[in-house]
């Protein structure tokens, strides 16, 4: 990322900030998005969906049907957060290594009902998490060290136990985690990580293995 990405970082407007810091409401309905300094949180009006008769026997990637819309700054923060949620380990790579930020961008850019709400939640959340990172550690989220990122995420990772001032941020984190895991576990690497074995033609279907039956006490 170039320095200009960070300096052009959208700032949380006061109203949104107050709402995010103080509200304990269970739902997010943030108004006045235009004030979110360059972060267009409304769905692109020009975008259309894939229609009722898309070609099915084909492989698609994010951006094929509607334009992706993350700014460089949003992408940077989203990528960092993806990898805090799904980091690399011995079994599989990190979320960003298999295109999950593109998937999230596709999701929040989609012209379908419901996606506009997710867009608002995600984009406001990305602004919030950078603002919170600055407030606590004097850096953007992507520039924090792992321990700082975890300290912040620990406060927002579980809505029912989050402090009142973090309830809205917890909604954001939960949605972001759902999208990150949904994007990750539908990739070949993610499916393999879960132990999914299939989607290959077989001559016979042999049922559970002896080891599986033994595990269930059915051997």
């Amino acid at each position: 990322m170039t320095p200009s990405d960070s300096s052009s970082r959208p700032r949380l407007d006061r109203r949104t900030a107050i709402k995010w810091m103080l509200t304990a409401a269970a739902s997010v309905a943030i108004m006045d998005r235009a004030a979110a300094a360059g972060a267009d949180t409304t769905t692109s009006k020009a975008a259309v969906g894939y229609g009722t008769d898309p070609e099915l026997n084909k492989i698609y990637k994010p951006g094929d049907f509607w334009a992706l819309s993350f700014t460089a700054g949003q992408r940077r923060t989203a990528t960092a957060l993806c990898d805090v949620i799904i980091p690399a380990d011995a079994k599989s790579p990190a979320a960003s290594a298999v295109g999950v930020p593109d998937f999230i961008d596709e999701w929040i850019s989609a012209p379908y009902p419901g996606h506009d709400k997710d867009r608002a939640l995600i984009l406001d959340g990305l602004v919030w998490i950078d603002a919170e990172s600055q407030k606590r550690f004097g850096n953007d989220f992507a520039d924090l060290v792992a321990g700082q990122q975890r300290a912040l995420c620990d406060d927002i990772c579980y809505g029912p136990k989050a402090k009142p001032e973090f309830k809205t941020a917890a909604l954001f984190f939960n949605k972001f985690r759902d999208l990150t895991s949904g994007g990750f576990y539908t990739t070949p690497e993610g499916m393999k990580d879960l132990g999914y074995i299939g989607n290959v033609p077989l001559a016979t279907y042999d049922g559970p293995t002896p080891a599986a039956l033994k595990h269930l006490g059915l051997a």
Partner: protein, 599 residues
Amino acid sequence: MPIITASKTQPTYDVIVVGSGAGGGQTAYTLAMEGVKVLMLEAGRNYDPVKETAMFQTNGQAPLAGSSTVDKPFGFHDSTVDGGWQVPGEPYTSASSDPTRQFWWWRARMLGGRTNHWGRISLRNGPYDFKPYSRDGLGLDWPIGYEDVAPYYDKVEMLIGVYGSNEGLENTPNSPEGVLLPPPKARAGELLAQKRAKKLGLPVIPIHRAVLSVKQDAERIPAKLHPQNPTAQRILAQAMRDRAACFWATQCGRGCSIKANYQSTTVHLPPALATGNLDILPNAMVREITMDENGKATGVVYIDRVTGEAHALKARVVVLAASSAESVRILLNSKSPRYPNGLANSSGLVGKYIMDTVGARLGGQIPLLENMPSHNEDGAGGAHMYVPWWLYQEQKAGKLDFARGYHIEFQTGRSMPGLGAATAVAGLTEGSYGRKFKEEARRYYGTFVSFSGRGDMIPNADSYCDLDPTVKDKWGTPVLRFHWKWSDHETRQAAHMQRTFADIITAMGGKPNKLDATGLQAIEPGGKIIHEVGGTIMGVDPKKSVTNQWGQTWDVKNIFVNDGGPFASNADKNPTLTIMALAWRASDYLLAEMKKGNL
């Protein structure tokens, strides 16, 4: 004779078949094999599953990880074309704004209709299911019994290929020896459910589905199905050889490019076309049936969905198989001064007694399935096991507070991950993320089970459709208005489902999700199960029914209804197999009547 365009239609046909799904496909097959010149009209576009089916695409290769949208309500890779709960430009309305009184109408605008994506579950109605009124004094008896339909169940099962087993359970008919294909082995979670549910008195047995677990016997079956007809035998044998056995991968709802499961487009239509006796005209949306001065149908008027122009076509006989509700709509829209209430409607019952299947579900998580050694559980692209209704005697003895039964379908296993593959992990682990989340996702993957009840609905006077007085589709044709109400029998049945599913999940050592003890929230809206039947019910009395036992309308001898419309009740058994059996039976009658000169 092939798939044609509007300019290529013949001046007249023996039979026009409206619709190309289970009823229309079976009708066209039976008639064309016997030399009848048939024109099939399909409202949607031509569709070729061999070329168009997404067989091995993963969810990650579809937009939004393949998840549901308004354009594709069952997910991106679902085979449905130009369809869903809403079809642009072709609305339907609801008489009530009460959310509990809505009817959801699923349509598909494609050759083969809803058979392309259906669940392939193929259960026979049992003897009780044709005589429900005689058994409990509710609803309506059919004018036919199980013994009348059984030979046609045999034939349809042999034609389309159905896996399953014969268990000899009450009102759950066996098929004759050699008719069913072998059932696939049960999956791990299905075996666990079987063992644990047994303690509750629930029989978990192989389900019947229209999937070729092995290749069909192309040497033996054609002669059984068409004993006097060498041409039909030859054509069917070739069609059977062209179908591959299931290769145990991909979901059946996508359709099947190797023709291993039944869909009209891969099973009924290829041999019917090969006879040379069938023309198929896609994009032909039938508006009305035309009549002569003697009270006989002369053909149909259809709208070309591409140009918007209306065209007339002629035939000796018109068979409606447009889906139960769409066939009702065509009859009601065939209005004229002589028939002010539409055709075949002297009883006033066209559109009355529409039914769906009672549906409710409950899921849970099974700790015993955690960390199970990985193996391939794709299987036949759908369920291998189910629970037939098991409380007939208790019900008869008055021990239950609802009159009719349900069967249980369930999902277990390590299926291909979708968008929600790990969604539950956060809640189960108090918000884990990072390496911990990845470990927990591995632990919980494949440990969730979901049970779905599919129950008998009793026809009632509050559930019907008529023409909306003002709303029209984009071609100016009046649309259907639905009226809907579940009775206590259905909501109490849904409540019983909820308790039963919680018991099974608990017996499996698992934790059920929160259940709805009233059934009022758990019951799915009318139509949601997409088992729309009734509306042109069959009977013995022309004053109390729309058709006779062959789907022939009482009022107009050369109009037949060969979809689910003539169902006089809706058993818990999924209706598609019965639609096909009745369509074959009606087509045999139609052939005989034609030969006698009565049509």
